[in-house]
Amino acid sequence: MSDAFQIMLLAVDSAVRLSVPLLFACLAGLYSERAGVVDIGLEGKMLIGAFAAGAAASVVPNPWLGLLAAVLASVLFALIHGFASISQRGNQIVSGVAINVLASGLTAVLGNAWFNQGGRTPQLPNTARFNEITLPFAVEARTVPFIGEFYHEVVSGHSVLVYIALTLVPLTWFGLYRTSWGLRLRAVGENPAAVDTAGLSVTRLRYSAVVVAGILCGFGGAYLAIAQSASFITDMTAGKGFIALAALIFAKWRPWPALGACFLFGLLDAVALRIQGVNFPGIGQVPVQAIQALPYILTVVLLAGFIGKAIPPKAVGIPYLKDRS
């Protein structure tokens, strides 16, 4: 009994760790798409952020400077995306693809040229990373069955970025639904002409959303390179930006469900890691690929409208033209 509980706790704990980068990217996409700018460049922004974090922290061994570098790099890419999609009214999908391709190429080329380790950044000492924090009373609470164990294994013992990610969920909810900025942001994604008529700048609102998305992707990248690992490696994001996009659709562009979707996809990832080679009575081995494929299959099924309908913000992907001459 206690054994099974222990295994479950460990699975949930690793699910939390694996879902944090998804959550950062998913919330990033939420701000951007709620304001009407499609963002399939989450992957690229996280990747360039991870690289900047790894590179900066290896030069100046301070995780906060690494985080700052990640945010700056990611925001720069976000601004390119914003310039193309908002100012130039270009195709937002094409721009997102460009961001992803550029990030994948630049991190490999610059990483190799600067550090000479085949695209890796140097291994970081613990002082240059975000380390795990033991929350107050976590060690003492261990002896308390269930609740104490849960507190010790799952709640405590993560890096500060994990707690920031979790705090961002209520913050995002509050920002979007309880502030005038949030109301305007959502309006600009549904009916930009109405916002414009009210005398607000569509351009400025959309840029603000895109920059917030850049900041959050930077956090996600920094988490990968200097919290979860101790260096940047080539193609470190490995599709996480796209899983986050799937989670965003799964959550129907809402913050609390986004937390749920990211945790679910993180849990699937954790389970896939654990069941490799395990024989289940009556079923035999479950191929890891089947579980890895689940987030994508679930998202397609949802998009098809068979389990509820995922309706994106109405004006998403459409450049705003003030003057239709």
Partner: protein
């Protein structure tokens, strides 16, 4: 604003060329940033790609794949859709060809080889069918679903290559070798039939298929009823309805053709070079197709030229990485990214200035302030 349109050579010739030039300039800056000389790098690339029979063979071998994936993206563009799933469709094309080659090895080659090619087309088209159907009839955005299907294709292929299709006794994730009747002849073998000797490179018969496919797409889009329907739906789906064209049906058909073209990419790599199914053989060609289609502005002639340019970049990039270890092969991906950015997302950035400059030079001050918005997608 009633402005006279700028001439076609300006909007379809000069503007795209300026965009591509800016992309290369940006890439040159990156080369300079890591402390190498961009002009010297360019020279090494050109010599490596075009300076020998060997280099040229490899260049055209890369070009072949990019023509297929570029055409695939372009056909979908003409119908107003963005098929971002060329990578997955190409992988499934390989699976289709491999299943035919491994399942019917007893057939004589004149039957087996065409069936293998058809298998590649059919599997590529089949992989886009669900996204196409969902886009057409349930309104699920094809961009998102094809991204998901790229990952699904990748995981499915890994599953099959480490499991059911894995060659017994091999450690690598690959199938058994195909029978010789299921592989395409290399160009040097074909040259030998005519008594010519050329250097052995991976260039094979599928290069001819690629050129035929480009002609096919040109005829399809501009010389057939279906092509007219595809362009109408792409330009204005509402108007298409009034013209008696079903946008849903045309969407599915155009995307199936797109998927089939992407599947054909496998004829180059799997039937032409490998002679067995291997993992991740598309190696990003599906994404290069996006850059190629944007650069070629959706026209088969432009696509062949753009594919050739990327062929030069890929082969030249390999030589460059060999000569200058500081510039790795991923430099090509950087260039690709800048091309997608400047020739795609920012395609109109310089159009106004160029049109104004043209107006000033020709003395027609009222020439369109907006260069003809012949945008893609």
């Amino acid at each position: 604003m009633s402005a006279r349109p700028v001439p076609v050579w300006l909007s379809a010739g000069v503007v795209p060329l300026v965009n591509v030039a800016v992309a290369f300039l940006a890439a040159g800056l990156v080369v300079a940033l890591i402390g190498e000389n961009p002009l010297e790098a360019l020279q090494i690339m050109l010599r490596g790609a075009l300076g020998s029979q060997y280099g040229l063979g490899y260049t055209l071998y890369y070009t072949t794949s990019f023509i297929f994936t570029g055409l695939a993206v372009a056909v979908a563009f003409h119908a107003g859709h963005f098929n971002i799933g060329g990578e997955g469709q190409a992988l499934m094309g390989g699976l289709g060809a491999a299943l035919v080659a491994l399942g019917l090895p007893f057939l004589p080659w004149p039957l087996l080889l065409p069936l293998c090619v058809l298998g590649a087309i059919a599997a590529g088209a089949a992989w886009v069918f669900i996204p196409a159907y969902l886009q057409a009839y349930r309104g699920s955005h094809v961009v998102i679903t094809t991204i998901m299907f790229n990952f699904l294709a990748g995981t499915l292929l890994v599953y099959l290559l480490v499991g059911p299709l894995k060659m017994t006794g091999s450690m690598a994730p690959e199938t058994a070798k195909f029978v010789p009747g299921a592989t395409l002849p290399l160009m040097n073998q074909m040259a030998a039939w005519f008594g010519l000797t050329i250097t052995r490179t991976p260039l094979n018969l599928s290069f001819v298929f690629a050129i035929l496919a480009a002609i096919f797409v040109w005829v399809l889009i501009w010389r057939t009823r279906l092509g007219y329907a595809i362009r109408t739906v792409g330009a204005n789906p509402d108007a298409a309805v009034y013209a008696g064209i079903s946008p849903a049906r045309i969407t599915v058909i155009a995307l199936l053709i797109s998927g089939g073209l992407a599947g054909l990419m496998a004829t180059n790599e799997i039937l032409g070079v490998q002679g067995r199914l291997i993992n991740e053989f598309a190696a990003g060609a599906g994404f290069v197709g996006i850059a190629v289609a944007l650069m070629g502005r959706g026209h088969p002639f432009g696509i062949v030229l753009a594919a050739l340019l990327f062929g030069v970049l890929y082969q030249g990039g390999a030589e460059l990485a060999f000569d200058k270890p500081k510039i790795t092969r991923e430099m090509i991906i950087v260039i690709q990214g800048f091309v997608i950015l400047f020739a795609g997302a920012l395609e109109m950035m310089f159009a106004d200035q160029i049109a104004q400059l043209y107006g000033r030079l020709t003395g027609k001050a009222d020439v369109a302030t907006k260069a003809s918005a012949k945008g893609q997608a």
